[in-house]
């Protein structure tokens, strides 16, 4: 049994040696064939990596939003298609307070008004998105001031002209100088810079640090103009929950509360929309999943072409070496010996090509990560998978030529020229 196994192993080793000799004999041809597989494996490996990189990116940007929260918008939820009894969405500061008071498990809330602003200081200027909110925003969205402080309840109460700058905005206006305590003009009014936020990086080329935060009352007084219809209206509300709170349940409870407040009955459309980070994650996972499948499918075509190249070259190799096959049969080679010889040859071609493709993909992935700021993780699993997969391609496309070789009649093969 053991001896038999050793014998088998050494038989395969002989096949590898025969294959290497044959491949070296037609070196140029072998290299070109390998190239096809290399490109195919490169494309597939990179596609898989880019796909999972996209997934990571999406998850990162959702996490940047805040981990466990519901987002409420004053936008009629047309999703379920019932009767429409509101001409516009509804969401007010009073709703926010009611939610905070009556829903359990809430960590903090962050009512928001958003508007574009121009900041000017000493001839430099920057435009950014200003979030008018309450101190709760810091907690819900995981942002803290790196220097200085975040906005306070007192700032909100007094509608103070204070602003916390995102790192990108601070850099644009002040360079490397710490701007805390400086004055900037926002739409001509002087504001005191009270803090600079910690960096949250960027996701999908979207700079999370290009932001300014001020008290919601200040935004309402100075910037909302006629964009809002009521004096108490909100553009958005973040509701942050404690860890372990079920978001679907929380969403149901908020919906119930707001429906009561707006007296929405039966199948009527809600004048508000609620989304949770959990939903975002699920949807993104779906989208990136499809993205990945499409990407891999396209890349697979090049691998298929590489495989056909292998089959072509193996058919040529079998034809060229018909006489050798006949000779080996005369000397005692069984069908399986001949078949295995050519299978191993195809597999060796593919594994070499696969290994080179993998190396190329690792290089490409690293370049993307470094230069395009897009994570392309090529894990050990992907690497091993690529090698096994390319061996499989070899067996698949080398199979037909190998079986054809093994079916030759010894005498006809020997007589061929």
């Amino acid at each position: 049994m053991m001896g038999n196994l050793v014998q088998k192993a050494s038989g395969w080793l002989v096949n590898v040696a025969i294959a290497m000799t044959a491949l070296r004999t037609n070196l140029m041809r072998s290299i070109l064939t390998t190239l096809g597989v290399m490109i195919g494996v490169f494309a597939v490996t990179l596609a898989v990596a880019v796909g999972s990189g996209a997934q990571v990116s999406v998850m990162q940007s959702i996490n940047a939003l805040g981990s466990n929260m519901a987002l409420v918008f004053p936008q009629p939820d047309t999703g379920e298609g019932g009767r429409r009894s509101f001409d516009r969405g509804r969401l007010t500061m009073r709703d926010a307070r009611a939610i905070e008071k009556q829903i359990s498990g809430i960590d903090d809330i962050a009512p928001q008004l958003r508007t574009n602003i121009q900041l000017v200081v000493a001839g430099r200027n920057a435009s950014t998105n200003a979030v008018g909110t309450t101190p709760g925003y810091g907690k819900v969205s995981n942002v803290v001031a790196e220097s200085g402080r975040f906005i306070s309840e007192a700032d909100v109460r007094s509608a103070a002209r204070v602003v916390v700058l995102g790192p990108s905005v601070a850099r644009k206006l002040f360079g490397d100088y710490d701007p805390v305590g400086e004055t900037v003009r926002i739409n001509r009014a002087p504001f005191n810079v009270i803090g600079v936020l910690e960096s949250k990086g960027s996701s999908f080329g979207n700079d999370n640090d290009d932001i300014a935060i001020m008290p919601i009352t200040t935004t309402r007084q100075r910037f909302s103009g006629d964009t809002l219809s009521g004096p108490d209206d909100l553009q958005m509300l973040f509701v942050g929950f404690e860890d372990g709170v079920s978001l679907p349940t929380a969403k149901r409870e908020i919906t119930k509360l707001l429906r009561e407040r707006y007296r929405v009955r039966g199948k009527d459309i809600n004048p508000f929309t609620i989304r949770t980070t959990e939903e975002f994650m699920k949807e993104s996972a779906q989208v990136t999943g499809i993205f990945q499948i499409v990407l891999v499918a396209i890349a697979s075509i090049s691998l298929l072409v590489g495989g056909i190249g292998i089959m072509n070259i193996m058919l040529v190799s079998v034809t060229e070496r018909t006489r050798e096959i006949g000779l080996r049969m005369a000397l005692g080679a069984k069908r399986s010996d001949i078949r295995n010889q050519f299978l191993v040859e195809a597999a060796v071609l593919c594994v070499i090509g696969g290994a080179m493709g993998l190396i190329l993909a690792i290089a490409g992935g690293t370049a993307l990560t470094v230069y395009a700021d897009f994570p392309v993780p090529i894990g050990v699993g992907v690497g091993i998978g690529a090698i096994i997969f390319s061996a499989f391609i070899g067996l698949l496309f080398g199979g037909y030529p190998a079986v054809r070789a093994s079916r030759l009649s010894p005498i006809e093969a020997l007589r061929s020229e």
């Binding site: 005369a330 000397l331 005692g332 080679a333 069908r335 009649s409």
Partner: protein, 234 residues
Amino acid sequence: MALVETQDLVKNYELGGETVRAVDGVSLSIDRGEYVAIMGASGSGKSTFMNMIGCLDIPTSGEVRIDDIATGDRDGDALAELRNQKIGFVFQQFNLLARTTALDNVAVPLIYAGLGGDERRAKAKAKLEEMGLGDRLDHSPAKLSGGQQQRVAIARALVTDPVILLADEPTGALDSKTSEDIMQIFQTLNDQGITIIVVTHEAEIADHAKRRIEFRDGKVIEDIMTKKRRKAGA
């Protein structure tokens, strides 16, 4: 007991609707230790006959028995095993693997006999040394003379210790001096007890054999024991 036995052996080829009877009902038996020369005009069926007793070709009808084994009911793999164990082939064109050393060429049959690498090399080396090629182990065929190449081929045919050596015009590609060397080797082998069947056109080659079989149109027309047996080196 007969080592090679054929019974009404027939091989037909269909060529453009016509049937060519390449071998036409040959029954003969060759004993262990014989040295047989097969002669006959070109196209008389010598090679076809040799290929069938070498189990390389399947007869249209009739039977071939090797060492009392009926070959008709054996499949391709079983025939491959039989060839590997009992039959050594020497071809006119040597049929060595190009870009492969003499040693590795000789070791090929041992791969299929299932021997390990060390054992293969040891046996192949011993056979090549017997053929006087101990200093050419690492030479590829391209670096060997025709006679040397044929000696490598003979070493390969003998490396599995077969009972029969089949040689189809083994000197056809060699000059007369080298041919004589090869014949000396065959003589020595036969003296050691190996059964030899050789196809040839040349009377001088046939003269080495103890028995001569003449083919014409696929049939045996003469089968005689030639008494004169030359001594080695004569």
